[in-house]
Symmetry: C2
Subunit: 299 residues, 2 copies
Amino acid sequence: MDSTVDASRKEKAQAWFQDLQTTIIAALDRLEAEAPVDLFGGAPGVFERTPWTRAPETGADGRPVETGGGVMGMLRGRLFEKAGVHFSKVDGLLSEDFAAQVKGAGPDRKFWASGVSLIIHPRSPKVPAVHMNTRMLSTTETWFGGGADLTPVLNYQREQSFPDAIDFHAAMQAVCNRYDPAWGQRYKEWCDEYFFLKHRNEMRGIGGIFFDHHQSGDWEKDFAFVQDVGRAFVEVYEALVRRRMHEPWTPADREEQLIRRGRYVEFNLLYDRGTLFGLKTGGNIDSILSSMPPEVKWP
Amino acid sequence: MDSTVDASRKEKAQAWFQDLQTTIIAALDRLEAEAPVDLFGGAPGVFERTPWTRAPETGADGRPVETGGGVMGMLRGRLFEKAGVHFSKVDGLLSEDFAAQVKGAGPDRKFWASGVSLIIHPRSPKVPAVHMNTRMLSTTETWFGGGADLTPVLNYQREQSFPDAIDFHAAMQAVCNRYDPAWGQRYKEWCDEYFFLKHRNEMRGIGGIFFDHHQSGDWEKDFAFVQDVGRAFVEVYEALVRRRMHEPWTPADREEQLIRRGRYVEFNLLYDRGTLFGLKTGGNIDSILSSMPPEVKWP
């Protein structure tokens, strides 16, 4: 590919992910402010944005290694007990070990990646937890990855027939179907397969979509798709939060939520590739483990 | 080895581990009953013993596979917020995959194992959490494994100069030194190495001893050593609990405890061989995850 075209695509994608972080944070701050005082108490929290950069380092082989930067966004609020919305862009050379696992890594081991990742743990057990992540990666090849999945914490909300599950799936399927009807089915199945706790033989949430190495051959189309996943996610999650945030909950609901969150911890530490990879390669602990639920029980 | 001798050793070891479970449960029940009411409230909890057996099954190759039985002991009390003291004896044939990893596994893949394992999460942040485990394994070889390590949850108690750390180490070292001065140093170092969170570059607790494939060539001596580890553990932990259970604590102490417990979860799900092996091979979830702390925070 023409390297000017390539550079412009990276710029466009990075700008989009930065915008998406801003959009999501604005939406969550708005909901946090709107949350009913009788259920969630006094002053709303606001997102704290922490920019970070990693200076270029020299690897064992004397070549510069990965450098990066981004903005961690964390909210510890009243409606959103803990929410992380992170933007990052990393750039540089893959380690030799890692290069072997990365699609299209060339002999120079150059790579580029940018994306947004998000996990939200609401305080109310009636409001579902959620995860979303979209990113672009570039080596000698360029592709997108990501997905969005919903984790209601109360059993009666975890049925596929529950309205929130229906609406979440409809939103994600609509995005896929606008581009290619095959994507919806494939990415839904991939999600069910990925967010699964084998040791308990149970799903983490109610599903959604999950994709990687997404590369249809038409970059503009793929980029538009990924943007639409981000937009559709914000829209549907905002609607679900507004629908549920006025519902009171009981101590038994809270207990069920805290126990269900334990499954989230088990998934992230036992199976989640991003978490395990990050922890085992000396990634930023604060950022990687910002996904952990704020309070959990294994009674 | 003469198979009559061998059978009698298995019987003796198994009987010891059953007795040890009973002794530990009695000691913890006693402490639970003694706990000061002003700090721990009303009625003490008592251990619930749940016997289990696994019926012989036929493996994929048509041969019988591992069968087992034991007694899970669980206390959800006032002083001991959550404590598990489990006895088990398993017997049968190792799977082909597993046999490759087990010392001395013969072509018939026969094995026998019995032991006691324990994890205690006290309610008071002033009382240290603890883990202990001793077991005998037999394939074509016979050996012992186990250890005991202390996890104080408040930073000021996590110094090696804190009296509880000094006394715990002294108790474990005294047992080792009675048998072989080299064991104490070796098993202490092994403990520090094993109970270590690489991703945080920190120890789980303050250490203790850890050993595996313990086989000096003198079974009677090794068995006596393992019995003494169990006895010394009960004695020193009982003393530490009695020393600390009258100390009041603040909400800030409790918060520190709940966060520290998160590290315990991280260790068990990311590194602990027994936990990972059990979860990935379809072990009993309730028993394996009975080690998880009852309440945890990642704020």
